[in-house]
């Protein structure tokens, strides 16, 4: 029996009721939001349940929504069921004042480096992570470059005329 999005949604709602919300299916991939406090329970359920069997954590990434008050930062978990070849996407939101999410390293070992990357670029602190430090950027970097308040361009560069390159320093926020 193939594992359908409907069946996954039903199972999750039966078990967690209002802890999982906002079900969507963009391009056929089941996407839902999980309350921050029950992230690990949901991930563990998806991993351990024999019918769901999402044993592979494909990716963790961060997203910054500056206008989403109180829920500025999102952590997105991509899970894959290898037997049925089904993927789901779980989103967890957190505020930018207290960017803290629980670590998934206890469930998926591969979450270790992915969470370090998310910490590196978005400054999201994963509580309980065994080695929470930068992974890709230089250690001296003192900000999270993927947050939208920081401009992409290197600020140490002096040889470029901003007008010639279609940039306006006043617009960079």
């Amino acid at each position: 029996m193939a594992l359908t999005n409907e069946a996954i949604k039903q199972k999750l709602q039966e078990r967690f009721s209002d802890q999982v919300t906002g079900f969507e299916e963009p391009y056929g991939m089941l996407t839902f939001e999980v309350e921050k406090e029950s992230t690990l329970k949901v991930l563990n359920f998806l991993h351990e349940n024999e019918e769901l069997d999402f044993i592979f954590l494909t990716d963790i990434c961060g997203v910054h929504y500056p206008d989403n008050k109180g829920k500025e930062l999102a952590v997105v978990y991509h899970l894959h069921n290898l037997k049925e070849n089904v993927r789901v996407r779980a989103k967890v939101f957190t505020s930018i004042e207290k960017p803290e999410v629980y670590t998934a390293t206890g469930i998926f070992d591969c979450a270790n480096w992915m969470e370090r990357e998310t910490f590196d670029f978005f400054g999201i602190n994963f509580i309980g992570h065994p080695n929470m430090k930068r992974i890709l950027n230089v250690d001296e970097m003192d900000y999270s470059p993927m947050r939208k308040e920081f401009p992409l361009e290197d600020q140490s560069r002096v040889d470029k005329d901003d007008e010639m390159f279609g940039r306006d320093r006043r617009l960079a926020y």
Binding site: L136, N137, V138, M141, P145, F150, L152, E153, D154, S156, R157, D159, K160
Partner: protein, 193 residues
């Protein structure tokens, strides 16, 4: 069809063996007198040992420069060494990320004096199109550079021209330069003793 598909003007070899030009000096029967600077310069400039530090597409162009068609060996740089201890010329080719910066500097420190540095391509010279938080905006932020070769990537002719400019610098260098106050000041500005 490309405007120039191949070289139609065949130029005859002037000599079977091309010799380096003799420096200015006084010559008589059985002797030749010139300054020590120019003799040592002559020897150094025609046997520059490059150390390629290739991280991206400019490195591929450099491979073309080394190969038969362009042949860097014609200019006395046949011998590439992949150990900084033996090399005279550090050729940095390609994007240097900020995390790579200390590595470039360490390679430079491991080279013995006299040493020269060539930044090949837009990225090594200025960061190029990678005007971003993670990329070093030109290797001259970590090591002093003698010659910049523009291009993205430069053609092998460009890299050869850069090498010829390096040879000019090497040939004309005053032997006392590396002990001078100005040179020490330059190194100190990079935090190198």
């Amino acid at each position: 069809m490309r405007p120039v598909s191949y070289n139609v003007k065949i130029k005859k070899l002037e000599n079977d063996i091309s010799m380096a030009e003799m420096p200015d000096g006084h010559m008589g029967q059985g002797f030749f007198a010139t300054s020590l600077d120019s003799v040592i310069g002559l020897a150094r400039k025609n046997s520059v040992w490059p150390l390629p530090f290739a991280t991206s597409c400019c490195g591929i162009e450099f491979m073309g420069t080394m190969a038969a068609t362009y042949d860097l060996g014609r200019f006395g740089s046949e011998r590439l060494a992949f150990t900084p201890r033996q090399c005279d010329l550090l050729m940095v080719m390609g994007t240097i990320a900020k995390k790579m910066g200390p590595v470039v500097k360490q390679v430079y420190l491991q080279m013995a004096e006299p040493r020269w540095v060539m930044a090949v391509g837009a990225c090594a010279s200025s960061g190029g199109i990678f005007d971003t938080y993670s990329v070093l905006q030109g290797i001259d932020q970590v090591v002093p550079v003698d010659v910049y070769v523009p291009g993205c990537p430069p053609r092998p002719e460009g890299i050869l021209d850069g090498l010829l400019r390096i040879q000019d610098l090497v040939g004309r260098e005053n032997l006392r330069r590396r002990n001078g106050e100005q040179y020490k000041g330059l190194l100190e500005s990079y935090g190198i003793q």
